[in-house]
Amino acid sequence: MQDLPAGHLEQLIRDAARGDGEAWERLVGAFAPRVFALLLARCRDPDLAEELTQSVFVSVSGKLAGYRDVGRFRSWLFQIAMNRLRDEVRRRGRHARPAGGAEDLEAVAGSAEADYQDLSPEALGALGAAMGGLSDAERQLVHLRHLAGMSYQEIADLHGEPVGTLLARHHRAIAKMRQAMEDSGFTPEDLQ
């Protein structure tokens, strides 16, 4: 996701809300991949993740003119995404399975194009196994931080938790993942 400077992002939002098609395209181009990645990680169904991503932006398009919470666009956007996923899971009467485990990441790798193989299946397997060892709260934090690209302050706004708590949890999650990968014979430095 393109990390737009705060002022630039707010200007883009204002322009898009006024009906500027180019600004809207840039906004969608910057955030749709992140929303998709987050939803895919949570539901593990690429088609459902895309369907929900489209639904999220339909909703954003309808509500953007009323968006007034300056500086919290990401929190607002990903809250819509998480709510939409929760509603869909409830509607379908099943629980979303958070990503984690080698089989999930290998499935994602299988759907990627040949020219986008920047992680080997082995590396993905090790990463998936490491992610599978996290608690749900830790895994969700990793998803929001690294897939959604949110700052800690934005995640704190989203969850209503202190930033310090999130920092400590993230630190613990990363350490656990590194340890799990090293236990399976991979070191992140080897995978660079």
Partner: protein, 155 residues
């Protein structure tokens, strides 16, 4: 690698680290960044999202509608205000003017009503009495009859 990155790929590669926390493990975070790019990679995603979610309706439409509504409200308020002002200031005016004309014609009127042109009562302060009367026409007529009766009795 493709030489021309797709929109989503390009956007992902432009990501800068947030400044609210230093990286605790650069190698792990770099690995997670690559994982994020892979998870976000969905060919044609942005185009399909744009097709499903068109740009928001232009805000000026809302503004124009709001201004038109405000204009209609202002027009209605001004009409109501004009009616109220008219009711307050216009209603007593004809009564007052007619009473004043009666007062000016007071000696002749009294004489005629009394049935004699000799009954000129210039000395009687009818004018002040009339001014203090209720402006209602029925009351005024009663008062005039009283005055005529007084004038007749004085003869």
């Amino acid at each position: 690698m493709s030489t021309t990155p797709r929109r989503s790929t390009f956007a992902m590669n432009q990501r800068q680290p947030h400044h609210d926390e230093p990286s605790v493990d650069p190698a792990m975070e770099s690995l997670l960044g690559r994982y994020a790019r892979r998870m976000a990679h969905r060919p044609g995603l942005v185009d399909r999202v744009l097709a499903a979610a068109p740009a928001p309706a232009p805000a000026p439409i809302r503004a124009q509608w709001g201004e038109a509504r405000r204009a209609r409200l202002a027009l209605a308020a001004s009409i109501v205000g004009a009616v109220v002002v008219g009711m307050v200031f216009m209603r007593p005016a004809p009564v007052m003017s007619m009473a004043a004309s009666d007062i000016e014609a007071e000696p002749v009127l009294v004489s005629l009503l009394a049935g004699s042109d000799e009954a000129v009562l210039d000395d009687h302060p009818f004018g002040s009495e009339l001014r203090s009367m209720d402006s209602d026409w029925s009351m005024l007529a009663d008062e005039i009859r009283d005055i005529v009766a007084v004038a007749g009795g004085a003869r």
